[in-house]
């Protein structure tokens, strides 16, 4: 079997520095937003005592969930030995790290007392799933770093499958932990369900792959790296399967809730009467984030897969944000049931469906997390050999016959 050679990004790409500068501005803006929220207090946001987690949490959870899924490609390559995916393992690990760092940064910067981050890292309540997650996240970073190292250090290559297995198991646990943040909230009708954990795992796989596809395409475009159509089609179809799995678990989530009579209220709210949440669910998550991308990737025109796969990835990405928005915000907007069967009224909005409008500081802060992830990927690509010399189909699969569409290997510059 052919050994893949890797390289870093070299040369003076104007695009590279331009993009870096743009992302740097976004990061600065997000820091300013965080400072504003911190300084003024959270009343400058859309969050209240009723909707206590808002847009920063939606985007941070997206990033964290996608981080674990971004490692997908590496797992398929090393653990399951699929040659097509192997050369992408390094990039997949780098992206996983970057997304996780971006997500955690957003989460931390939204804290009421972000200055007490040291307290959070030194004082633990071991009963709290949240505290557990702090370990799961830092552990995940360590595991991925080791995994990258054994992939990149030739003498260590033989440990790659073992490291890959550890990383794969770790990320399943990590996503279970993230899903359980909600699953443990017994009092909230929207969250009190065991299916939250598998649902989050499915979401992580699909959202992580969508992020990976977008990153890969952008990288290849920016560095003149050829991207074979066969590889793109594979990634696209995999995305379609994963998006279908997410739809399946979403169906299980809602059907199970419908079956439990006490959850009928929240289901009615999300599925029928929730206004923006209902629209986001059906239109955003199910149709645009699920059915359309699935249809797109299973009807790929031969030789021209890239455009459709990219569109599908963008839709899955946006659908994922819609889905997490519905789970996080919709679940809080629906009132807690304190007195079943009674009508309630109070000065604290008991029994009232709350509305929420994300404020600019919140959105800016969340977007900053994505910018940070992108910068980490770019710096990584520049500093270390994450990228294979070629991703043309013939370079990936020795049995691949150079298709007439022109998939022959390009000589590296």
């Amino acid at each position: 079997m052919r050994r893949t050679t890797y390289r870093e990004i070299t040369g003076q790409y104007i695009g590279f520095y331009g993009l870096m500068a743009g992302l740097g501005v976004l990061i600065l803006l997000s820091l300013a937003a965080a400072w504003h929220m911190e300084h003024q207090g959270h009343h400058v946001t859309g969050m209240t005592n009723q909707i206590v987690w808002g847009m920063p949490h939606v985007l941070a959870i997206f990033l964290i969930v996608a981080a674990s899924g971004a490692l997908n490609v590496a797992s398929i390559g090393t653990v399951f030995g699929r040659t097509w995916y192997k050369p992408l393992g390094r990039l997949s690990g780098l992206l996983a790290l970057a997304l996780l760092v971006g997500g955690l940064a957003v989460l931390v910067l939204d804290l009421g007392r972000a200055d007490r981050i040291l307290v959070a890292m030194t004082t633990y309540n071991f009963k709290s799933i949240f505290a557990w997650n702090i370990y799961l996240y830092t552990g995940f970073m360590a595991v991925v770093v080791v995994y990258l190292w054994v992939q990149m250090e030739r003498r260590m290559n033989r440990f790659a499958p073992a490291a890959g297995l550890v990383a794969m198991i770790w990320r399943l646990v990590l996503t279970t932990g993230t899903g359980s943040i909600f699953g443990f909230l017994v009092a909230r009708q929207a969250y009190d369900a065991a299916v939250m954990a598998p649902l989050f795992i499915a979401m992580s796989l699909s959202l992580g792959l969508a992020c990976f596809n977008l990153t890969l395409a952008a990288t290849c475009r920016g560095t003149d790296l050829e991207l074979g159509d066969g590889l793109v089609s594979r990634l696209g179809r995999l995305l379609g399967v994963l998006a279908a799995v997410v739809l399946y678990f979403t169906a299980v989530q809602h059907l199970a809730n419908l079956y439990a009579a006490e959850h009928a209220g929240i289901e009615r709210f999300i599925l029928l009467e929730g206004g923006v949440f209902t629209a986001l669910f059906w239109l955003g998550q199910v149709v645009l984030g699920g059915l359309v991308p699935i249809a797109l990737v299973f009807t790929l025109p031969a030789g021209r897969a890239l455009g459709r796969v990219l569109l599908a990835s963008i839709l899955v990405f946006l659908g994922g944000i819609a889905q997490i928005y519905v789970i996080v915000i919709g679940g809080q907007a629906y009132p807690l049931v304190l007195f079943p069967g009674k009508e309630v009224q109070s000065s604290f909005f008991d029994g009232v469906v709350m509305s929420y409008a994300p404020s600019w500081p919140e959105i800016t802060l969340g977007v900053g997390g994505f910018a940070m992830a992108a910068v980490i990927v770019m710096v990584g690509l520049r500093a270390l050999r994450f990228l294979p010399e070629s991703l043309a189909d013939a370079a990936l699969d020795p049995h691949h016959s150079a298709a007439p569409t022109g998939a022959e290997e390009k000589a590296p510059a």
Partner: protein, 255 residues
């Protein structure tokens, strides 16, 4: 189809509460601390500052809903005054430790009015989920937030089934020395712990009595001779959402 839980029947609820009350009388519920003991005075006496908080006491509150008047807000006003909770005219973000909730039974039209605050659960989810341990339960059952450790993640607010907690969304001024508050942290009813430790009752309870309602009884649920223990032993009382199994220290009569 209206979010009704299947536990409308009275009996299981009642049985559950009676067994919980029996358990509370025998063994205290805080783990790891002395399980049985009697204070010197044997009842709700003041705790000397040097004495440790003890699990032989479990502070509780009984609200007689029949005596709570619709439109009376004396308890809420007293709480705001006592703990320096003056808001900024923004009801969605201003803190509320206690609120009056008006109930209406849609099938009969019957109305009820009652105060709702932190229920000082024996198994408080807010404490379980708090990553730093800032949210904690004292041995005597009072659930508090350590303002020095709280990082303001608000996970406890999501976990509390009673919506009892508030996040401080703005700079606070005019704090009371005994009720420290700080922007960016979470807070909730403390049972007026500063008064309780001096042998007094919470401000809301006192205000209710002064307003002539006398709907609230505060005391030690572990002391069989306390007024509250005698009342919960004599009458049927309810906890809110008993199905969650949190064993709140606040109970309601004639709900």
């Amino acid at each position: 189809m209206t979010g009704r839980t299947p536990q409308q029947g009275f009996d299981p609820q009642r049985r559950r509460f009676l067994s919980a009350a029996a358990a509370a009388a025998g063994v205290t519920l805080a783990p790891g601390v002395t399980l049985y003991g009697v204070t010197a005075a044997g009842s709700a006496a003041a705790r000397a500052p040097e004495d440790p908080v003890t699990s032989s006491v479990r502070w509780g509150l009984l609200v007689d809903v029949n005596k709570c008047r619709d439109g009376c807000n004396a308890c809420v006003t007293a709480c705001v005054e006592e703990n320096g909770l003056r808001g900024n005219g923004r009801p969605e973000t201003d803190a509320q430790w206690i609120r009056k909730v008006e109930l209406r039974d849609p099938s009969t039209g019957a109305k009820r009015s009652l105060p709702l605050m932190c229920q000082h659960c024996a198994s408080p989810p807010c404490v379980d989920v708090c990553p730093t341990g800032a949210s904690f339960k004292r041995a005597d059952g009072i659930v508090l937030v350590d303002k020095h450790i709280c990082i303001g993640c608000r996970y406890c607010m999501l976990a509390c089934p009673y919506k009892a907690r508030s996040f401080i969304h703005e700079v606070v001024e005019d704090q009371k020395p005994y009720a420290p508050r700080g922007k960016g942290t979470v807070e909730s009813c403390t049972f007026c712990v500063h008064r309780v430790d001096e042998g007094r009752t919470p401000a809301c309870v006192e205000a209710c009595a002064e307003a002539g309602g006398d709907a609230m009884t505060f005391g030690d649920l572990n002391d069989p001779n306390s007024r509250i223990s005698k009342q919960v032993a004599a009458y049927v009382t309810d906890q809110i959402r008993p199905d969650l199994g949190l064993d709140p220290g606040v109970r309601y009569r004639n709900l």
